[in-house]
């Protein structure tokens, strides 16, 4: 069609390290790789513009999981996350995060990211988790992206904005060899050959469909549609515990965070329609979401965030944080509805499903060095398997990935690749531009995601999952009719294909684990019990030699922090005693 040249322009660039995704973890990977070895060439490829890309586009309200001396030890944190995640964690990676946490906070502080401090200049850490104290507010958290951007420039990281990576290049010897990207405004191709690639493409936040009538919700940055998961899968990497979905409590209709982590330490709490607290702890775990879901459906629903009892000064402080940082449109939403925190509780709902290790535990498998199962390929942030790692995890693990990749580059050369792989990928990418009519990306995305809601949203029922798989396969067949008229729509068409891959992975991973675990996240109605004998393990989903979706179990490595039997159940007793007794 007219918006595309029939002659495809392809530029080939060589670099030492390619980082894909310039949101949170990606920039830190690039910066730390350059700090480790300033002689390396580092390219950062971003679908949007690094100035305002990623989940942290407008900054953040706080660090959700800061391990700060005096408040918590790395051992306590590893224990908390192990328990919150029903024991299925690679503790060495959680420990690597926990020990890197405080140095990273100091580093962020040194580059201009502001954290809340008390009168004597100490960090003002607050308690939200069930056991320990880990939340560090950032009332002036809107400067995060600016601070990162200054460092990218200082370290001369080469940034390519508005290029969407579509596939990774695998070398003829099986090592990672780079990636292929397409410009979202011109449709031009960029092939980047690299010795090491760091994936930091965020969560898969466009899996379930919001009820609003829009494809995009207000929570996860919609650019994070699962490209990273899909690219890792097609490159042969293992993906861990994808059945452990992300489901969040969000403001109803606004579909964004309320946010209990900010209001909790001030005394706000999750309540039912009687204004009563029904869970002891607002920290997002699968068990907490199961209680939330149960309350919504019971006669006690809807569920609310209650702040009506708080003092005027407290509420103004909360408003300043919640309506200026992170999600400033939240204030506008409440204003339209006449919701004043002083008088009215905020109506909440649960989100649609997604993949995310930032909040849950579904991600590309990485070890404590952020290495995936493909040599030279790293992953960090929401899309990597370190559970509950949030923003600070994206920074710390991004940094680990960048430093390890810098070391790896020193002892390796640019892998050879097969030019036919590039030609094949270009044909796939451009196919929808070669048709004059057919189906639009919007229609196909709507349908795929509606099927995800109808059949894959927990509670997970085997019979529904089977229908869902069959219907999603029909949508996949319809890709032969997908048609776009400009490069922007081409980006959406490619995103749709990542979404379809993620939907297939979600269904297959959920059917593989024949037990229930992680509360609502993996509640299999046909296998309601937790089966530690057979399933106390990670699941890895991968593409086998025949190109089929395959699964295997991976044993949980011996713990580095021992956990007592009775501590393990802590997150299973979240209901407040009064209500539990009812």
């Amino acid at each position: 069609m007219s918006a595309f040249d029939s002659e495809m322009k392809t530029e080939i660039v060589e670099t030492d390290i390619l980082v894909i995704g310039g949101g949170t973890g990606g920039p830190m990977a690039a910066i730390k790789a350059k700090e480790k070895n300033p002689g390396l060439k580092v390219v950062l490829m971003e679908k949007a513009n690094v100035k305002r890309s990623g989940a942290v586009s407008m900054g953040m309200d706080g660090l959700n999981n800061a391990v700060i001396p005096g408040y918590a030890t790395p051992e306590q944190y590893v224990k908390e996350i192990t328990v919150a995640n029903d024991g299925i964690v690679h503790q060495k990676a959680v420990m690597a995060y926990a020990t890197g946490s405080y140095p990273m906070i100091q580093y962020l502080d040194s580059i201009g990211v502001k954290f809340e401090k008390d009168g004597s200049g100490e960090y003002n850490v607050r308690k939200v988790h069930h056991m320990g104290t880990y939340v560090l507010p950032m009332p002036e958290g809107h400067h995060v992206k600016k601070a990162l951007y200054r460092q990218l420039r200082k370290h001369q990281v080469l940034v390519t904005n508005r290029y969407m990576a579509t596939r990774l290049l695998t070398g003829t010897d099986g090592r990672i060899a780079g990636a292929i990207g397409v410009n979202t405004r011109t449709g031009e191709f960029l092939v980047i050959r690299a010795k090491a690639v760091v994936l930091a493409c965020g969560a898969a936040g466009r899996l379930g469909l919001p009820a609003s009538g829009y494809l995009f919700g207000t929570y996860e940055n919609p650019a994070n549609c699962g490209d990273g998961y899909a690219m890792a899968y097609h490159a042969g990497a293992g993906l861990a515990n994808l059945e452990c979905y992300q489901i969040n409590p969000l403001i109803k209709d606004y579909n964004g965070p309320a946010c209990a982590y900010v209001t909790g330490p001030f005394g706000g709490y999750t309540a039912n329609n009687k204004g009563e607290r029904f869970i002891e702890c607002d920290y997002w775990s699968g068990q907490m979401m199961k209680e939330f879901y149960g309350e919504l459906l019971s006669g006690n629903g809807p569920v609310f965030l209650n702040m009506t009892h708080l003092a005027e000064e407290t509420i103004s402080e909360i408003e300043t944080i919640l309506h200026s940082n992170e999600r400033p449109s939240r204030g506008r939403f409440h204003e339209n509805r006449g919701t004043n925190y002083r008088e009215k509780m905020v109506e909440m709902h649960i989100s649609e499903i997604g993949f995310c290790s930032g909040h849950s535990a579904s991600g590309v498998w990485v070890d404590e060095n952020a290495r995936t199962t493909v040599p030279g390929l790293y992953a960090a942030g929401d899309m990597a398997s370190v559970p509950h790692n949030y923003m600070l995890g994206a920074f710390v693990n991004g940094g680990i990935a960048g430093e390890d990749a810098a070391d790896y580059c020193a002892s390796t050369d640019l892998p050879a690749y097969d030019a036919a792989d590039i030609a094949r990928e270009q044909a796939r990418v451009m196919a929808p531009t070669r048709r004059d009519d057919g189906l639009t990306p919007f229609e196909m995305e709507y349908k795929a995601r509606r099927l995800v809601n109808d059949y894959l949203q927990p509670p997970k029922v085997t019979a529904k999952y089977k229908i869902g798989q069959a219907r999603l396969a029909e949508v996949r067949d319809d890709l032969s009719a997908l048609c776009v008229k400009d490069p922007h729509e081409l980006m959406r068409a490619l995103e749709l294909q990542s979404i379809l891959d993620c939907a297939d992975m979600a269904a297959a991973a959920s059917l593989y684990r024949t037990e229930s675990r992680w509360g609502l996240y993996h509640w299999r109605v046909d296998h309601p019990a937790t089966d530690n004998e057979n399933w106390f393990c990670h699941t890895l989903l991968y593409k086998d030699e025949m190109g089929r979706m395959a699964h295997k179990k991976r044993a949980v490595d011996p713990y580095v922090v021992e956990i007592d039997e009775d501590e393990m159940g802590a997150y299973h007793q979240l209901r407040t005693p009064a209500i539990a007794a009812e």
Binding site: A48, N49, K51, R52, S53, G54, S57, M58, R162, T184, R185, S212, G213, Y214, L215, F216, T218, N221, P222, A223, D253, Y254, N255, G256, R327, P328, S329, R332, F333, N336, R337, D437, G438, L439, T440, H488, M491
Partner: protein, 77 residues
């Protein structure tokens, strides 16, 4: 299959009198994480070209002249 043009009310409005795109400004277009803003060929000013939004607001906050307004659209209101 033939296509239809579908009319919707968009959440982001640009005040043409305040917008200085003719002086080369592209700030809102550059920062939008979803790339949904563009120059309107009819007016030469920035506008919302695609009805897709995350309501994140850098377009409004970063605009040097305060020309951009992000509103919660009807379906979410």
């Amino acid at each position: 299959m033939p296509f239809a043009n579908h009319t919707t009310s968009v959440p982001v409005t640009v005040d043409d009198d305040k917008c200085i795109a003719e002086k080369g400004c592209r700030v809102c277009i550059d920062v939008c994480p979803l790339d949904v803003l563009a120059i309107n060929p009819a007016s030469g000013k920035a506008h919302m070209k695609y009805d897709e939004c995350w309501y994140c607001m850098p377009c409004e906050v970063d605009c040097p002249t305060g020309a951009v307004k992000v509103e919660i659209p009807y379906l979410l209101r």
